[in-house]
């Protein structure tokens, strides 16, 4: 609460998010300051909710810092080929497990490979898993949740029962199970996280859709003759969007963590592709003799997770100030 000044918060704080299904005049009437908010253009669409949220997010220093690190990590992942001083597979058997030197800024691993280069390529795996897995999770979870909440009746009962069983499953245990059965590899990680991760977002979407379905603006759209499909896609889902976005921002670090954990125990990414989790797992046995093998990737994981958490906290507070 402390982070959003009362002046900007009033639009969204009234309780419900301004429904998008309303005529545009109404929306404009709600935000007298929309002409000042040129910063908000980058956010989705042009409605005042997103603009306000984006401004609130920019005012949150931790979130901005986290976001900056996230952007930096994405850039590192994209331009890994240009940034890495060596190839991640290039070995130098004359210099094994070497502590940081001028040639190898972060030292070398047990095969004489440059740790810095491997960590730069490791960022690629982490970012790919974080974003890719969330796309799959949303693609499975949102339709199931929306269907369950919107259609109701027996479909809802069946789907919620199924969701409840999946929810009772210890998630990481299930992911490890699926991975050790499918075998290591990036595609399999997407499959494993997708298969298990959709449950939370489906639950959330269902709850939102259930609550929104009964709102007046949906009723009015229905009385104007809108069909179910249009009601769901044009009126209900856009208003359920902000909790979904919050869930996604927290889902990304969770996916990154899952990949790191899987690679740590050896069922994640296939070597020689470097992954931070795998580097920690392998370096752990040399902790006494070559501490850098384990410590640098650990720091990378910690920084990534913290940045995404700060960004996620900021996005949540910005989109729903009353939650804080």
């Amino acid at each position: 609460m402390a982070l959003s000044t009362p002046a900007s918060g009033t639009d969204a704080r009234g309780g419900s998010i301004p429904p998008r299904g309303l005529p545009p005049e109404e929306l404009r009437g709600q935000s007298p300051r929309s002409e000042q908010a040129s910063v908000g253009r980058a956010a989705t669409g042009s409605s005042s909710l997103w603009r306000d949220a984006f401004r609130r997010l920019l005012r949150n220093k931790l979130a901005v810092g986290g976001g900056a690190v996230v952007i930096l990590l994405c850039l590192i992942a994209i331009f890994a080929d240009l940034l890495a001083p060596y190839s991640y597979t290039k070995t130098n058997f004359a210099r094994l497990n070497e502590a940081p030197t001028r040639d190898y800024v972060l030292g070398t691993d047990n095969l004489g490979r440059d740790l810095l280069s491997r960590m730069i390529y490791g960022a690629r795996v982490s970012m790919l898993v974080g974003l890719g897995a969330q796309i799959i999770v949303v693609a499975i979870g949102v339709p199931i949740g929306a269907l369950s909440g919107f259609v109701g009746g027996r479909t809802d009962l069946l789907l919620t029962r199924f969701i409840d069983v999946m929810y009772a499953f210890p998630r990481l245990l299930f992911v490890i199970l699926v991975m050790s059965m499918l075998g290591a590899g990036l595609t399999n990680i997407f499959i494993a996280i997708g298969l298990t991760g959709w449950v939370g977002i489906a639950r959330q979407t269902r709850g939102q859709v259930l609550a929104l379905r009964a709102k007046e603006f949906v009723e009015s759209a229905r009385s104007l003759g809108a069909r179910s499909g249009r009601l769901l896609i044009r009126h209900v889902l856009p208003n359920a969007l902000s909790p979904i976005i919050v869930a996604v921002t927290f889902g990304i670090p969770e996916a990154i963590f899952t990949e790191a954990a899987l690679s740590f125990i050896g069922v994640g990414i296939n070597p020689p592709t470097p992954s931070w989790g795998q580097m920690v797992g392998e370096g752990q046995q040399y902790l006494r003799s070559a501490w850098h093998l384990c410590v640098f990737p650990s720091i990378a994981i910690a920084i990534t997770m913290l940045s995404f958490t700060f960004l996620g906290d900021g996005v949540r507070d910005a989109l729903d100030p009353k939650l804080k």
């Binding site: 409840d164 009772a168 740590f264 902790l287 913290l306």
Partner: protein
């Protein structure tokens, strides 16, 4: 309340059955079999030997029959022989390793609850001051950073830089410290965050104002009036925390070489030890479900506003 507890217990049966079925299907629907050579690139067994082994372990029967046999035996607590440790039954292994995991988990939980609640109360009492920032920082760190990464940091700090505790093993209390702390930090962070939020809400409530108005000093106001009421919502957290501690133990146990269930779990997964996988998943699922039920019942008992 009794009716509620019974209905929850009855629901446990289909939930566990469904979990067993999903695990069973995932195991059998994916390529590879326990009859494949364990070592990579080793010569495969001859077809006759494979057939004989499959018959010996009942793997040649149709899947539905295998599942029915498994359920029939599991109900009596018999999970068969381990495929990897061929001379031992799954039950023997679990009886030996589960208490170790339980002990480690209980210590971690106790530390998490004690530490998390104190941090949360301190943070709320001194809102927006140093104690608050310190505890929020620790909480965020504990929640966001994976426990195997925390383990690395703790080993480097407290075994290598300051040689206070050994890097692994399970013989004396000195070995217990680092795994317990590693395992406790994440749930401690969660509890601290919730306690802080819950305390802040209660501190602003009317009854706290009344307590202050009648002239009580700060300590009894916080401890007697605010704390007791703030504690109720925290009880619900214990459910998910058992899960956090449980899954966390896979990593912590293998890093600190703790002879618990977590280590066997990972080994059985990669070795396609079907009976062991089923047993561990079910054991864990049943434990979690039972704990969740206990937590829900405790919540109802603590908060008279809750009705079932």
């Amino acid at each position: 309340m009794v009716q509620y507890a019974v209905s929850r217990l009855v629901w446990l049966i289909p939930t566990l059955l469904a979990m067993a079925l999903v695990t069973f299907l995932v195991m059998h629907a994916t390529p590879g079999s326990p009859l494949d050579p364990v070592a990579e690139g080793a010569n495969p067994l001859s077809p006759e030997a494979q057939r004989n082994l499959a018959a010996a372990y009942g793997l040649d029967k149709p899947l539905w029959e295998q599942f029915a046999i498994f359920v029939g035996r599991a109900v009596r607590g018999d999970f068969g022989n381990s495929f990897v440790y061929k001379t031992r039954t799954v039950r023997e292994i679990l009886v030996e390793t589960f208490p170790v995991s339980l002990f480690l988990g209980s210590m971690a939980l106790a530390l998490a609850v004690a530490g998390g609640v104190s941090l949360g109360v301190l943070a709320a009492t001194y809102q927006n001051r140093m104690w608050d920032y310190a505890s929020v920082t620790l909480a965020t760190f504990g929640v966001a950073v994976p426990n195997f990464v925390l383990a690395v940091f703790l080993i480097v700090l407290f075994s290598l830089v300051l040689p206070l505790f050994p890097t692994g093993g399970w013989d004396s209390w000195r070995n217990w410290v680092l795994p317990t702390v590693t395992l406790a930090l994440a749930p401690m962070g969660i509890i601290a965050r919730f306690t802080r939020a819950s305390m802040l809400e209660v501190i602003r409530a009317d009854f706290t104002l009344t307590a202050r108005a009648k002239g009580l000093s700060e300590v009894p106001v916080i401890l007697k009036h605010a704390f007791k009421n703030a504690l109720i919502p925290i009880v619900t957290l214990l459910g998910p925390m058992f899960a956090a501690v449980g899954t966390g133990s896979f990593f912590v146990e293998s890093i600190f070489r703790v002879p618990g269930m977590g280590r066997f779990f990972v080994l059985s997964m990669t070795g396609r030890d079907y009976p062991m996988i089923m047993a561990v998943v079910l054991c864990y699922g049943a434990f979690l479900a039972a704990m969740n039920l206990l937590v829900d019942l405790a919540y109802g008992a603590l908060d008279p506003r809750i009705r079932y």
